[in-house]
Amino acid sequence: MHEFSVTSQVVKSVLEDAERQRAKKVLEVHLVIGKLTLLGIEQLRFSYGMLVENTTMKGSKLFIELKEGKVKCDKCGYEGAINFKDDPIYHISFPTLTCPECGSSVKIIEGRECLIKSIKMEI
């Protein structure tokens, strides 16, 4: 839902850097997006296309690397994928902060990134 504002920040940051480097044109932008963020990639790409119009980023390629979520259990030391719980009666599956090994609670350590990793530009 907030892809437009997050993408606006991405574009603003890239343009600031492009200006600092006196770039003629931005060719590529590489992002890393964590799978546990609430950012939709489709909406992010759509916003990007609109926001780069009439800037030095127009026509630039957007590369998005998705990063898996990772959780850690302080009790048993489990470190790995987030657990999904199935509710067969309602045919639904949802993520939980329950440890798949010992059942106590885990915390998210990876997968919340929204990172501008690198930019390629023509100087």
């Binding site: 907030h2 940051s13 850097d17 309602y90 949802f94 939980t96 902060l97 990172l115 990793k117 930019i119």
Partner: protein, 226 residues
Amino acid sequence: MSSVSRVIRAEEGEIYDIELVKDLLKANEEIAIENKKLLSRYGVKAIDVMGSIGTGKTALIEQLVRKLKEKYRIAAIAGDLTTTIDADLIAKHGVEVIQINTGKECHLDANLVRKALSRMDLDEIDLLFIENVGNLICPAEFPLGSDKRVVVISLTEGPNIVVKHPFVFMAADIVVINKMDLVEVLGVDVDRLVRQVSEINPKVSVIKTSCKNGTGIMDLIRALGL
């Protein structure tokens, strides 16, 4: 914003690759940490109240203010796209309210809260309620620097409201199930909602309330440690 930048010359003489490490969500978290430090320096406890439109966030804050205003000096920040309706409702109870109109933004962020805090006399308050924009998705992504994050859901939102929006419950410390006065009429399986919240986040406390008749408000006050 944390940013490390270094320039590397690429093969084609004129193309530069800039390696940036700039995390935009991390930037919000950093401001949230600053907000938290600022609040704790003044001894202010802050409660972030999240939830969909119409679940009773404002009514809940009103109930809490009514019960706590003799004990604490209270202020509130009310976030909405437009209008001061919620802020006016809370202000009726004689507490200072700052309205943040986000315009079109679907959530409050730490920077907006920092701005609001700069306009408040933090020496004069002990307890701050932050009413987030009515939305069960986006606020989860943006911590504000509060001590506790409360998610308010209500019985009128259907039986699957929890599992359909798991992420906000992961970000919560306390979940309030409001409108308990309607339980008979609606025939909602409340135990199932409670179970689902605990499955998503085993650390969370679940409190059942009715802001209409005051049920459960004291339980919530205890859960908030107030």
